[in-house]
Symmetry: C3
Subunit: 216 residues, 3 copies
Amino acid sequence: MPGSTLLLVLDLVGVLAFAVDGALTATRAARLDVIGVITLGVITALGGGILRDLLIGRVPPATFSDWRYLAVAATGGVLVCLFGYRMGRRRVATTLTVLDAAGLSLFAVTGTSTALAAGLGPVQSVLLGGLTAIGGGTLRDVLIGRTPRVLSSGLYAVPALLAAVVVVISAQLTQTDVVGIGSVWAVLAAGLCFTLRMVGVLRRIDLPGPRQPPLH
Amino acid sequence: MPGSTLLLVLDLVGVLAFAVDGALTATRAARLDVIGVITLGVITALGGGILRDLLIGRVPPATFSDWRYLAVAATGGVLVCLFGYRMGRRRVATTLTVLDAAGLSLFAVTGTSTALAAGLGPVQSVLLGGLTAIGGGTLRDVLIGRTPRVLSSGLYAVPALLAAVVVVISAQLTQTDVVGIGSVWAVLAAGLCFTLRMVGVLRRIDLPGPRQPPLH
Amino acid sequence: MPGSTLLLVLDLVGVLAFAVDGALTATRAARLDVIGVITLGVITALGGGILRDLLIGRVPPATFSDWRYLAVAATGGVLVCLFGYRMGRRRVATTLTVLDAAGLSLFAVTGTSTALAAGLGPVQSVLLGGLTAIGGGTLRDVLIGRTPRVLSSGLYAVPALLAAVVVVISAQLTQTDVVGIGSVWAVLAAGLCFTLRMVGVLRRIDLPGPRQPPLH
C-alpha cells in the first residue's frame, strides 16, 4: 500500500480522474443508464490497481480494504451523472484525453511505488507500474468494444513506462523503497508522463508503424 | 467455500443456469461448434466464481478443486447441444433472460456467503458477491463481442448488490458467517434479486440515464 | 516453474511463436504503431502463462521473475517490426496459423507440467495446461475485437487438452511430476496437438455444430 500521504493523495486523484474519464466515456460513447455510467467509471478507476494487486499477490486488493478508493471512484461517476451534461462535445473530447493522461501518469507513479514497497525488483516494479497505469483504460475500452488505447495510440505505454523508470531510479538514489513524503521525484515522474502523452496527442506524434509491404 | 448443503446446491444450480445460458447464447448468437458452445457455457458458469476466488486469494479456485462444478457446467453445455435446437426463437430469448437472472440471483447469494466465510468484511463481501454474480455474464458478453449486460441493462447489478446486502445483514443478525442450512434468508435474497431483475425486464424499467446535453 | 532445460526451451520457443503471432496479427489486422505491435506480441506470448500462475497462486508470475520471458517476447515483436513487411499476404495467413498452433502445442505441454510441478492434481493440471495454451491467443483476439479462436475454430481447445492429458499420463507412468529432461513424451504430446490442429485447419475439419432448429 502507498506508504506516504503523498502517494495516497496521488493515488486517489488518479482514481478520481479515471472514474470521471470512464463515466464520461459511458455517457457519450455508450448511452448507458446511471448505474452503467457509475460502474464503468469504477471499473476504469480501480481496474489497474486490482490487476496489479493480483499480480503482486496482495489479496484482497487494496481497493477492497480501503473504503476511500471505492468512495472516490463512485463519487467521480456520480459527479458525471449530475453535471456531465453541461459539457459541449468538443470539451468532452479534450477532457477525456486530459483525464486519461492524468490517471495514466499518477498510476504509473503510485503503481511502481506500490510494487517497490511490496518488495519487487526494479524491472518488475517498472512493468507493474506500467500495467497499473494502462490497466483501467484498457478494461474500459474492451468493455465498450473499442480498440484499447494502449495499442492504438502513439505515446501511451511509453510515457507510463518512462515515469515508472524515473520512480525506480529515484528510489534507488534516495535509498528508499517508497517515494518519500513530499518527494519531488514523484511529481517529476508524473509530470514527465503527462507531458509526453499530451505532446504526443497535441502534435499528433505517433511512433512509426512497422514498415508495410509494398502495394504491388 | 460454501459451508452448507443449501449453499452448495444453490451454487451448482447457478452454475447450471449460467452454463445453459452461455451455451444457448453461443448457438444462437455465434453459431459455434459443439466445443465452442460447451466452452462458452463453462466460461459463463465458472467465470464469476474464479474471479471471486482470485480476489479472495483462494487459489486454485474452488472450481478446480471440486469436480462437481466443472461437471455440472459441462453438462449444461451438453444438454444445449443435444436439445437446444428444439426451442423456438422467442422461447430462447425468454429462456436466456430467465436463466441469466437465476444465475445472477443464486451467485449473488453464494458469492457473498463465500466471501463472508473467507473472513472478509461486510462491505467487501457485498462487492465480491456482486462481482461473482455479474462476472460470468460479463465474460460471456465480452467474448462474443457485445456490450456487457452489467453496463447496458437497467436493474442488473443493483438487484445483485441488494441480494448481497440481505445476505450480509442476515449473517450479522443470525451471528453466523455462513448462511445456515435451510436458511430462509438465502432463498429470500435470491428471490428478491430475481424478482427485481425480471420486473425490470418485463416492465422495461430502466434507471434514468444521466441528463444529456441539449441538442442545440 | 519448468524443472528442466527441455521445458524451459519449449516454453521460450512457445513464447517466441506467440509473440511473433501476436505482433504479426497487429501489423496486418490492426495497423498499430511499433509499440502497439510489440505490446500485442508480448500480451499474446505471456498472457496464458500469467493467467495460469495467477490460478496456481504463483505470484508474481514467472514472466516477472525470469527476465528471459519478457526478453524473448519483446524480441519476437521487434523481429516482426523489422522484417514483417517482407511477407506476402498469403504467407502471413499461413505463418499465423502455424505459429499459433506451435504456441498452443508447446504451452499445452509446459503449462500442464508447470501445474503438476506446483502440486496440482491430474485433472486440475490438464485444465490449467489447456488454459495456458489458449489464454494468450484469446487475450489477443479480445483486444483486437475478433471472436476468440477457442470459440470459433474447430479443433483448437481439444488438441490442447489432449496434449495435456498425454503429459499427465506420462508423468504418472514415469513417476515424476515434471516431464523429465529429454523426455520423448513432451515432444510427442506437443506434436500430437500441433498435428491435430493443423489437420483440422488444412482439411477444414470442424466439429459439428449443435443441431439447429428447423427453418420453418
